[in-house]
Symmetry: D2
């Protein structure tokens, strides 16, 4: 998974102006909370639907974060702890973002932004995101619309930032070809959480043959108003529309490599790059079976994972624990400021991690927590993984992706 992009080890510019699309929604609010505290990115423009256009952000938004809108920029949550300590004495937001005028989501309103984050709903994200790319604006999207696009990478920043290497082809294939604009997506929240330990295990022990995952997902994953309280209070709903398909499909794209297409080529006859869906390079096709449940938890997706390795004999639970704990993703090594101090926190206590106690973990929501690593009587190994679906499962992933792009020079 090494990157082919030339590393830029120089420091990033002090300030990179960014925009947020879908700023009043759940994911948008989260982007703003995180960005208001960011050491590089400064929020320049906010976009939302017609209903909000022209209003001050504080008047357009029904703010639902536990950090008050007036308290943004004070280092409450968001970036890594280390970063917080170093940066909070420099800046406070002082209500600047709350007073920004919300604009329509058209590229003209975001001309001053060097990159844009999208927390748009899927029903509008398709056209708007495409327009921003066409306007040569790099776009980091949390929406699902382009995840299956054969030229758009689906990047979990702790797993496959190397997939940024397909960006130049994406730009070249637009008409006219683009010099700066592109779309990068991050994955569905429940995929993101469990694919991180999978990546760590494939790195340590080679390909996984099959995975069974049963999720217990928090209500915040459904946005606002989202799940009616009558459906979930004191209840479990054993179904989340489309979720199982997303997990089963996205896992293959994320954990797979990039190869030359056998069917598609450019006008010069050069084969196009394409995603191998975990099926090439000698590795067996990975089979994934997901069962998704909604549970009455505010934040934090719990996932019970059982898996079988290709390698016989498989690693022991202790070897698995060590490999998970040792996993150091490239974004961390590279110094992305929002990367977690520790990608995977491994718990030894028998009853941990738990969403209410551990969702932020010691990684502040930017990593994941794994516990109960033990043998599976049917496959090889089973464990539970907890991820903060509103952090690494959503906005935080987009932001680390953008940080990586900046450090690698993909965004200039």
């Amino acid at each position: 998974m090494s990157s082919k992009i030339t590393p830029h080890t120089v420091s990033p510019p002090k300030k990179i102006r960014v925009g947020v699309l879908g700023a009043t929604g759940t994911v948008g609010q989260r982007f703003i909370t995180l960005l208001s505290d960011h050491p590089w990115f400064i929020i320049e423009a906010l976009g939302a639907s017609e209903r909000s256009e022209g209003k001050k952000y504080r008047e357009a938004v029904k703010w639902k974060q536990t950090i008050p809108l007036g308290g943004l920029g004070l280092g409450g949550i968001g970036t890594s702890e280390t970063e917080k300590i170093n940066s909070t004495d420099l800046r406070t937001d002082d209500g600047r973002v709350a007073d920004l005028i919300v604009k329509a989501c058209v590229p003209e309103n975001f001309r001053n932004c060097q990159l844009v984050f999208s927390g748009l709903d899927a029903d509008v994200a398709g056209d708007i995101e495409s327009a921003f790319r066409a306007a040569n604006i790099p776009l980091f999207s949390n929406a699902k619309n382009y995840r299956r696009d054969p030229h758009v990478p689906l990047i979990v920043p702790l797993v496959n930032p190397s997939h940024f290497s397909i960006i130049s082809q994406q730009q070249r294939l637009q008409s006219p070809p683009l010099s700066k604009g592109f779309i990068v997506t991050n994955a569905n929240c429940s995929t993101t959480g469990y694919v991180i330990p999978l990546a760590a295990l494939e790195k340590a022990f080679g390909p996984i043959e099959s995975v069974l995952v049963t999720t217990m997902q928090a209500i915040s994953g459904a946005g606002y108003p989202g799940v009616p309280s009558l459906d979930i209070l004191g209840n479990v709903v054993p179904y989340i529309g489309g979720e199982e398909e997303k997990i089963e499909w996205e896992t293959l794209k994320i954990l797979g490599g990039i190869i030359d297409s056998e069917t598609e080529s450019d006008k010069n006859g050069t084969p196009l790059k394409t995603f191998d869906m975990h099926q090439a390079g000698g590795q067996p096709a990975l089979r994934v079976s997901a069962s998704c449940n909604r549970v009455p938890v505010i934040d934090g997706h719990m996932e019970c994972v059982s898996l079988r390795f290709h390698r016989r004999p498989p690693p022991s639970p202790q070897q698995v624990r060590e490999a998970l704990s040792a996993f150091t993703p490239e974004v961390q090594a590279l110094g992305c400021p929002s990367a977690p101090r520790k990608a995977i926190e491994v718990f030894e206590e028998p009853d941990r991690p738990q969403p209410r106690l551990d969702v932020k973990g010691s990684h502040n929501g930017a990593g994941v927590s794994v516990g109960r690593v033990r043998q599976c009587q049917v496959l090889d190994i089973k464990f539970v993984v907890l991820s903060d679906n509103v952090s690494i499962g959503a906005a935080t992933s987009s932001i680390i992706n953008a940080e990586y792009a900046v450090l690698k020079g993909v965004v200039s």
Copy 2:
């Protein structure tokens, strides 16, 4: 799984006097609620710990049922709907049980009882239950103490009442041999719920090779005071002590047959009967892997099940649905009054069953509900099963076991 006991098709005696041990506890309260409405059984004596001895039941108990103690016997819940309709005009409890004096759990106090139910805690159940058996009193226990005993059957009444056939050996092996006394146990609540569809599928399609089950268990399964609210409100706890081992082990005993032992024989040299743990008669050993979670639900264990059949090709989801829906356990055919009208209710809606809406189902908690039957990408079939852990998962199973024993003449 046919029974070797001679069927008694004559009607049961109008009134069978029963006792309840552990009457003030969660399971005991449930026994009393169900029995106060029962067409055959009449509560004769209540036993509890020293703290309660000598008090009226209404003063000894901290009543936690949604049916008021003063409203017992009015057909609220408990027996099957059909039974309720036919019986409620005959009897009401009129506070009789509430006024019973609670006694110490010694056989002398239960001499007038033809059988006894035990809702005792495991830390005291061992000696007390043994004493009742020795005193020639049939005992139906919800406690775990004797479940692994090689001469005590572990009976889920909708699955393996045929295991009653080992009772005569259990009686013969006591010293002195017993004419009436015995211990029958029912299974752990999470085992009970999911083993019912497994039994239906083995009956229809032959042996299952492997099962992966992930549970989301209600707090009532832990008794009272049970789970502290700070541990579970808005949370998931991915661990229930001993529960995974119970599921993995109990399933084998319940779904297995009874064979001649190769190592144990009686004084005449006749081999003793023993449980084959799902390993004999040509069927492959069943592998079971369980992951247990506690969720903030009052009543109703949800279990996500994936399984692989021995038979190739495996049945289709539609065939599985039909086999589950058609399953008619012997206790139902025989006319046990507390048996469910339908053993397995199969939901077609994508998001059902759910604990809050469906825990009682159309079977009033005495059957189970299955939904989301679909193909598994790793094993063959996956589905979700919901069971009422305080009904079929506990007291209701003991009661149907006792009804079966009465109808079969095991209890006279």
Copy 3:
């Protein structure tokens, strides 16, 4: 509060055909659950919005009751316990209601109904209910639209059914005057719950001078989808739009009498009857202060009430307990089948009633439960009252009102 209507002590007709408007909504589902089990009323027609028109009810509705749609008519809940016992052997619904074709809410579709229940949303109830009255169909509405109408009674059946006496004036004032049609409303759920003990206390001890009530209301009071889970899980929302005003105003109309208007008269110069708003007949104006909160409870509104009597010295807590317990509303004496066996259940335990354990009480949701009666250091007496907001707080009140109207000959 004696009624001026001539009592009809003859038995009601065996079957009275009724319709339900808003049949697919939360209140409509509740009407259907209760009516499917009713000894007199038989559901003849169901009305809902265009979206549902022409579909079978089972296909139009997203059924959210804990009694399965297929289990209606089996005596699960709804009518009083006594009634259930006597009636359930006669009838089961057998899926008849589930197969009814849903119709548009226009009077032509309900010509065969002798009376109609309305669970319509307030945004459409105004015109539809008015059209049904004009079409000479008696209508019992749970909607708020006509509660403040000076000719429409606002009736809590356990409190002020005597207000039916204004119906003849309501009919006479329509143009053309009506022989059968009228509108009767029942009160807001939180008003209904606490006004029942207030009525019992005024009956026993004379007028109340002031009441402070703080509510903790269940989510089912907001309908479906109603309260988003992100707003209420593990939370309290100290505001319910318009609720405090409703309580403060409705209480005065319900607890007041009917007097001759000083300003309005009919064409003959005879003064019209009007509601005195608890201000005439020598009784002082009642002051009511309400604070309303939403809490994460499924069913059951809890209300903490403090009040001051006009009488000095005020009654003691024990006298209050006795008066509440002794309260026998007219609908009960008259034999309305859905009236509770006991109107007010008084708990002596210090920590009861509680929604989860006591919402149905021994009155099956048709009465209320009061506990913690004690002195108030600021006013005279304080207590807590629990009512089943989806039963006596909604559909059950409409149904008892209709039963009363039948027994009194207001509906023929």
Copy 4:
């Protein structure tokens, strides 16, 4: 309420060594979380029961805080935001506290501590706290045992730190008289929350005549294991043992002044100082009526308050809002590092504050939030107040009290 203690405006010593009694309990864990981040206090010794004695703290404690034990000292929560920003670059805990050996709660083990915090349970606090005082160790207690002691001040730091003036008398009356040791208590959590706005209003508008308060209290207020989940999930319990009496009594001591006793005098015949219980100095006795409820909320006590002023006419809601917002307690003016930036945050939104969103507020749990200020139809004014029961309602109050004592020279 001005203090008679000479202010010490010099900076406090860089490090003050402190101990924590009851260190493994809920309040103890909270003390440790807050202190690990404190600019002056450094944890020197931890005390707990025999069961924990001799173990490392990390092994003795079942850590239940959302900040990992290993993440202490990183500025997560605890001190004010301002303080956090300034201090976090200086110190991290680096696991030092987690490795401390837990000791028995006897003064000998705390000789190196300049002051001690007590989070002991009431059943052991009496003797232990008394022993620490006798050993001349200043003790700041969260336990209830000495709150009613006529020589022990009951101090809500944002309200009545002036009551520290009675400490010298407390020391003088011990035998032998003490030079350093004393006991200061802080109030019950539900008293603390609502007495802060009461104090602000009395300061602005003169004495309050009567208060009605209805609480909705979080489960964390009951400690661990505390409230069983079966009692509170989806439920409200309208009773908390002893809580109403505490509120009704503590309010009078906290809001009252200190006067010369008419009955008690020292050996020289000089009258002793005593608490006037809000009854002297021309102010009328305050009448308080409390109704306490437990609700399924993790952290944050909500209280609905209605009150009547002595002054006629009473202030308007807008005047009340302004007075609350303007309230600046002495501990804030004096510069206590844990004092909130704003003592009372006043919300204008109709549906705020809410526990889940606002419990930390912009004051990080060290102040309170008030909303819905409006006229009361029965008394004068009503509003809702939210306080963080585990911060200002418990350990934070003890810590601010200690800071005040240091700044005032009461602790040297």
